[in-house]
Amino acid sequence: MDELLQFVITGITVGMVYALIALGFVLVWKSSGVANLALGQLVLISAWFTYGMLVQAGLPLWLGFPLVVLFALALGWIIERFVLRPLIAQPILSLITVTLGLGYFIEGVVTFIWPWSVDALPRLFPREPLHIGTAVVSQEYLWAAAISLVLFGLLSLYFKYNKMGIAMRATADDQMAVQACGIPVTKIFSRSWMFACVLAAVGGILMSSIGGITFGLVETGLKAFSVVILGGLNSFLGAIVAGPLIGLAENLGGGYLTPLTWPGVREVIPFIIIIIVMFLKPYGLFGEVRIERI
């Protein structure tokens, strides 16, 4: 029973971080219709950049984190301006594959600058475990979940009240109409990429403060895809609901299925969920079913 509670709490909290990363994907998909397959690599490079700022340059936290956010903003702007903007109105296949190439490039940059490929961030959160009922949960998970929740809240306020946020929602709804209203659509695109990169950076910092910086962070990005698939590609609510679900499935499955199947089953559970969702309900829990015309 203690085990169960522990799996549930860990699963939900890790799932919140997945949801946060997935939110970045949904943002870009909704506003510009680009499927960002470089998500995992964005998580990876921002985690390493944080490492570079905090450990290699030895900056204090109050200076290091704003620099990481600035870096993520710049990265998002550069990606949108120089890679995606020339491809506006190209077929979806090019839009997908260009992000694949981008991810591959970023992976190369990471191995180029940080060839040792495994390291740890300095301790950001207190490490002594908390006792919740009978379960023992390390505080890092709870902090990560709390930070994700705060960011969800901030983002939803932004989309509800800020002028730019409202414009972004409008773009997601109808690009042509927005253009006709005089809202610069390209600016919205670059804004959504910048947000996506910042979310990936925060997710990267949270994940790597829990599990260290490894190439596993790329797989964290891939798990975020299972979140968006389960939740529905164009639904913020879907991402927030599906994130904890994926985290739960991963931890419960990893806990109870490993003796029944092979070790490492934890790692493939999100992918098995993807396949199941594809067969049963391909547009996800909250996704909008697109009706196409010729």
């Binding site: 998909w29 499927a35 397959l37 890679v83 020339p86 491809l87 190209q90 979806i92 296949l93 090019s94 997908i96 594959t97 260009v98 694949l100 190439g101 981008l102 991810g103 591959y104 490039f105 970023i106 992976e107 190369g108 940059v109 990471v110 191995t111 180029f112 600058i113 940080w114 060839p115 891939l222 895809f225 299972s226 698939i229 590609l233 092979w262 070790p263 490492g264 790692e267 493939v268 992918f271 098995i272 993807i274 396949i275 594809m278 067969f279 391909p282 547009y283 196409e292 015309r293 010729i294």
Partner: protein, 350 residues
């Protein structure tokens, strides 16, 4: 349309023929002669490179049928190659079946696995399919790594040399003949496939699948057929790869390898027969030159940062994929067409 001046075709058959002029036939003959006498003047090293290129061309041709002609994105191609490679390895090593049986069953096995993961393509496309095939890649590799009683697991499995009848393909040169023959058969098959009803149905599906369905093309059947053919060729390539390397380990079939295959056919040119060939030759030669010539040379002359050797290849290839998509989305094949028409019209290119 792209015939030299003064050539006329008087029947539909000659108009549709792949080789239409005497020059075409002469060039084909010259190419075949050069290819089949290559072991006489190429060293073992370059024969090895050529073997790798040949195997990769088979797999890339499969992916090109799936992605370039039928428009179904698959980012799990390395996983399907792995299915073929392991089928061949298990059949020839553990059950000691002959090479040809292993080759065909490798293709069929990869094709069937491809069918399973291709089923969602009937309802979804684009990004959904991309994610499904990434999931396929991870699930396949996980199964291979952990089903160790059959596949050897993380330690890998050794594969005997290919042999037909009593003849064992022992030397690099004999393997070159085997691989190049199968490669040519596969290219010929792919070239002709797209000239048939099936190929035209694929192209219709790629251009607009709803319109294709309205015209009476059975989407379910043709999309799955594209998956089967694409993965069948991947399986054939996997089997040849297994026998050529002689040792299989799931690490050879990573997600990056899958991305590289997509990069190859994009750089070569989607939806052309020559595209995969050009793309594969470009990428594999670049890989060889970088890892064997350039990097050791630079390392011996200039003090390089430690990550240079392992980081420069993905950086360059990622950059190449992005640049080709942005600047030349039709790939090297388009350049080759431009060159051919310029050559035909020269010197009066008005």
């Amino acid at each position: 349309m792209d015939l030299p001046a003064g050539i006329r075709n008087f029947s539909y058959a000659t108009d549709m023929a792949i080789f239409r002029t005497k020059t075409h036939w002469a060039l084909l003959l010259a190419l075949l002669v050069i290819l089949f006498t290559a072991p006489l003047y190429w060293g073992n090293y370059w024969l090895g490179v050529a073997n790798l290129i040949g195997i990769t061309i088979i797999a890339a041709t499969g992916l090109n049928i799936l992605l370039g002609y039928c428009g179904q994105l698959s980012i799990g191609h390395a996983g399907f190659i792995a299915v073929g490679a392991y089928t061949a390895a298990v059949l020839t090593n553990r059950l000691e079946l002959p090479f040809l049986v292993g080759l065909i069953s490798a293709g069929v096995a990869a094709g069937l696995i491809g069918l399973i993961f291709g089923i969602p393509s009937v309802r979804v496309k684009g990004f959904y399919l991309a994610i499904t095939t990434i999931a396929a890649q991870f699930i396949i590799i996980w199964v291979i790594n952990h089903w160790s009683s059959v596949t050897g697991g993380f330690t890998g499995i050794s594969v005997p040399l290919a042999s037909i009848g009593g003849f064992v393909f022992k030397s690099e040169a004999s393997q070159f003949y085997l691989i190049i023959t199968i490669t040519i058969i596969c290219i010929f098959f792919a070239k002709n496939l797209v000239r048939t009803r099936v190929g035209r149905a694929f192209i219709a599906i790629r251009d607009n699948d709803l319109a294709a369905e309205v015209m009476g093309i059975n989407l379910f059947r043709y999309k799955l057929l594209a998956f089967f053919i694409g993965c069948f060729l991947a399986g054939i390539a996997g089997s040849l790869l297994a026998h050529w390397i002689g040792f299989m380990n799931a690490e050879q079939f990573s997600l990056t390898e899958s991305i590289l295959y997509i990069g190859m056919i994009i750089i070569g040119g989607l939806g052309t027969t020559i595209g995969p060939i050009l793309g594969v030759v470009f990428i594999r030669l670049l890989q060889q030159v970088l890892t064997v010539q350039v990097v050791p040379f630079l390392e011996s002359t200039v003090a390089l940062p430690a990550g240079f050797a392992s980081g420069v290849t993905p950086m360059l290839f990622g950059l190449a994929i992005v640049l080709f998509l942005v600047l030349e989305p039709r790939g090297l094949a388009h350049r080759w067409m431009l060159f051919k028409s310029a050559y035909r019209l020269w010197p009066f290119s008005y």
